[in-house]
């Protein structure tokens, strides 16, 4: 395995790197180092995404033809449920915070580690336990309730492994809570001298806002799921109409978390995008404090708009109107971000490296996802498109087009820092383009399908929808190529990629001042911060330009 590169004389930092200090499996499984825990998360999240992707592939295969040829209605229900549960609870929610946030947050604020390293390791073990429960439910017959576990179906009528799947989601919630708790404490108490709140990188602000949602939302859904489990296991009555209970209450309590959960997915990705846009346009970010505060206001407003999931569930029209107005309001801070990123690009010295291509992809997809969100927020329009493929397309544009593009862009951007190796740039650009095109081909036809009236969650459909569904399935295979490529060349780069310098992108930020990969405690001496975030000077921009074109 070891090529000539590995035996070359090493720079002086080698031997101290967090990757080489401590050998053997146990040094990883018992590590308290935030960087190693981030890599543990990276591995487990990648594994889960292969599973979630497998179920997505089954769904798209089934929907190539109008008849229910491949999967029975029952197994189709189980397939999309497992796809949803795995993708939401085990990939989208933890991906960016637990991998990139875990790795970068302490370094970005000039700390040796997160404030509570043992809690950090515990959160990973809890994640694994939750994943084990979910996999067990999959092997013991699967779940068919949909990832939302709506009562009374989940509590009374479903004949599938609801308990273990729900407990898997319940347990993984605590992993998310502990990550959020750690981030809040770390930002409050571990900042280096001179690292004031308004010098924090926007990545840190985004993660701080995310952590607030994790702390305030997750416990509510945890309790709600627990009540469903009690109802199903012991015949307790919380949401059971036979004793006067209200199934709608479950939906309120579920969406009180599960709507803000969308912001757990998208906010960290937005933080990544702020870093990418400034670095690759060589400019100070436009309106720093507006972007920082828009993260916080998204987190806050996100808590009072959950009712837009329930326009047709039997909540009053008046409540629907209020939730509709509030939902329109959350579009404002999201738009602030997009406008400010665009303004940052203006007259910037833009380079089109792979991370930036992902950022551009994010703009396009998030824009479509966000604007169609306004359609859905409108009660009158939603009555028509509710529970159709329009909704499916909308939330995939946000949750996959937004969150996963940000995650992948960040992974490319910080890969040299994380591993000390450089990935092949051309392959990176190709994969970014594949993901963007494949994604649009997969999900744009679904907007049309939904608008034409194709409902979600059926394994068969009328024949006139076949062309659009075939386009969508074809797009899914392009998308799969786009997602598989990075897995291949990232692994390749670990063994044969050229060594990365401390700051390969010429970026600002404390993480680029230390060696790649970083030493065990990040900084041999805690830095003193004297400048604002993103202090890209115009002269440097020109130098970079020259270097790039030579």
């Amino acid at each position: 395995m070891s090529s000539a590169v590995n035996t070359l004389p090493m720079p002086e930092n080698v031997g101290e790197s967090y990757l080489t200090k401590g050998k053997g499996v146990m040094s990883w499984l018992l590590t308290k180092d935030h960087k190693r825990i981030a890599l543990l998360y990276l591995l487990s999240i990648t594994f889960m995404s292969l599973l979630g992707g497998f179920f997505a592939a089954l769904i798209r295969l089934e929907l190539i033809t109008p008849g229910g040829d491949l999967l029975s209605a029952e197994s189709y229900n189980k397939t999309f449920t497992m796809h949803g549960v795995i993708m939401v609870f085990f990939i989208l929610i933890p991906a960016t915070p637990a991998v990139l946030g875990n790795f970068l947050m302490p370094i970005m604020i000039g700390a040796r580690d997160l404030a509570l390293p043992r809690i950090n390791l515990l959160s990973w073990y809890i994640y694994v336990l939750g994943a084990a429960f979910t996999l067990f439910s999959m092997l013991s017959g699967g779940v068919d309730t949909g990832w939302t576990f709506y009562t009374p179906y989940s509590s009374t009528y479903a004949n599938s492994a609801v308990i273990t799947a729900a407990l898997g989601a319940f347990i993984s919630g605590f992993s998310s809570i502990l990550t959020g708790l750690n981030f809040i404490v770390t930002v409050h108490k571990m900042r280096a001298p001179g690292m004031t709140w308004f010098r924090l990188p926007l990545f840190v602000w985004a993660h701080y806002a995310t952590a607030l949602v994790q702390i305030l939302g997750t416990p509510v859904v945890a309790m709600t799921i627990l009540l469903v489990a009690l109802e199903r296991l012991f015949g307790f009555s919380f949401f059971n109409p036979n004793t006067g209970g209200d199934p709608i209450l479950f939906q309120h309590m579920f969406w009180f978390y599960s709507h803000p959960a969308v912001y757990i997915m998208i906010l960290p990705a937005m933080g990544v995008i702020s870093e990418l846009v400034t670095c690759f346009s060589r400019k100070k970010v436009f309106g720093y404090s507006f972007i920082a505060m828009s993260s916080v206001s998204i987190a806050v407003i996100g808590f009072i708009i959950w009712g837009h999931h329930m326009y047709v569930s039997g909540q009053s029209v008046y409540a629907g109107m209020v939730f509709s107005i509030l939902t329109f309001i959350v579009a404002i801070p999201s738009a602030v971000k997009v406008f400010n990123w665009t303004a940052t690009l203006y007259k910037g010295s833009i380079s089109y490296d792979a991370p930036m291509l992902y950022a551009f992809g994010f703009f396009g997809l998030f824009l479509i996802g966000g604007l169609t969100g306004l359609f859905c927020a409108n009660v009158a329009v939603d009555l028509h498109i509710h529970d159709t493929y329009f909704i499916v397309a909308h939330f995939h544009y946000i949750m996959v087009g937004g969150a996963i593009m940000g995650y992948l862009g960040g992974l490319h951007f910080w890969w040299p820092k994380i591993t000390g190796r450089t990935y092949p740039e051309l392959a990176g650009r190709i994969s970014a383009i594949f993901v963007f095109l494949g994604f649009n081909l997969t999900f744009f036809p679904q907007f049309l399908l939904g608008y034409l009236g194709m409902p979600r969650r059926y394994h068969a459909y009328p024949e006139e929808f076949q062309i659009l569904n075939m386009m969508s399935s074809a797009g899914a295979s392009v998308l799969a190529i786009g997602y598989t490529l990075p897995m291949i060349y990232f692994v390749w780069s670990l063994f044969a990629g050229p060594k990365a310098s401390a700051n390969p992108w010429g970026a600002k930020g404390l993480e680029w001042t230390i060696p790649s990969p970083p030493p065990l405690e990040n900084f041999t001496e805690i830095p003193i911060v004297t400048e604002e975030a993103y202090a890209y000077a115009p002269e440097e921009a020109e130098e970079h330009e020259v270097k790039h074109h030579v």
Binding site: N13, P117, K189, P219, M223, L230, G235, F236, G244
Partner: protein, 222 residues
Amino acid sequence: MSSQVLDHSAAHPANPNFQHQFEDLNQQYASTTFGMWVFLVQEILFFGALFCAYAIYRATYPEAYAAASHHLDVTLGTFNTVVLIGSSLTMALAVRCAQLGRNKGVLGYLFTTFMLGNVFLGVKVVEYSDKFKHHLVPGANFYMGGPYNEQAQIYFSMYFAMTGMHALHMIIGAGLLIFFMWKAYNNTYSTEYYGPIEIMGLYWHFVDIVWIFLFPMLYLIA
């Protein structure tokens, strides 16, 4: 390079409980205590979901709640409230002892707290078994009688979920108390390192406060 690393660790306080990621013990104390406060915020929302469901159903079925509430033993509930408040007092005294570095005092007061916690849980066992005997556990065998037989199931579901979740927190707290008794027995705490006992105290008082809300909401509605 390695000498610098040595220098860096030499600059750290000598206390064996000091953790490497912090600058000094003050930062460690401030961070860990703050961490517990954030955890308690999370706990408030965890119980908050239950309180919310409780309030909604109580507003919907006030008569059923009142009728079902009569089946609880107010005397035992009051006794338990007194026991729990007493345990908060001994917990507070343990924190004071830790701040003064008196490990024996910490051990003694934690043990008293632990015993009072067990008394509380013991009474809870008596109350629960009483509910089982009288068919007041929700489910197929539930029978309260009277006009609110169905809706009373919601009340008793809330009763078991809320007090059960509270008792689970007590049991976890009791386990933590054993751990900290062992630490105090090994003379861990001093005037410069007493944070963990204070954090334990925060947790214990929180669990106590939850009961202060549960007691009137479940036992004292007429």
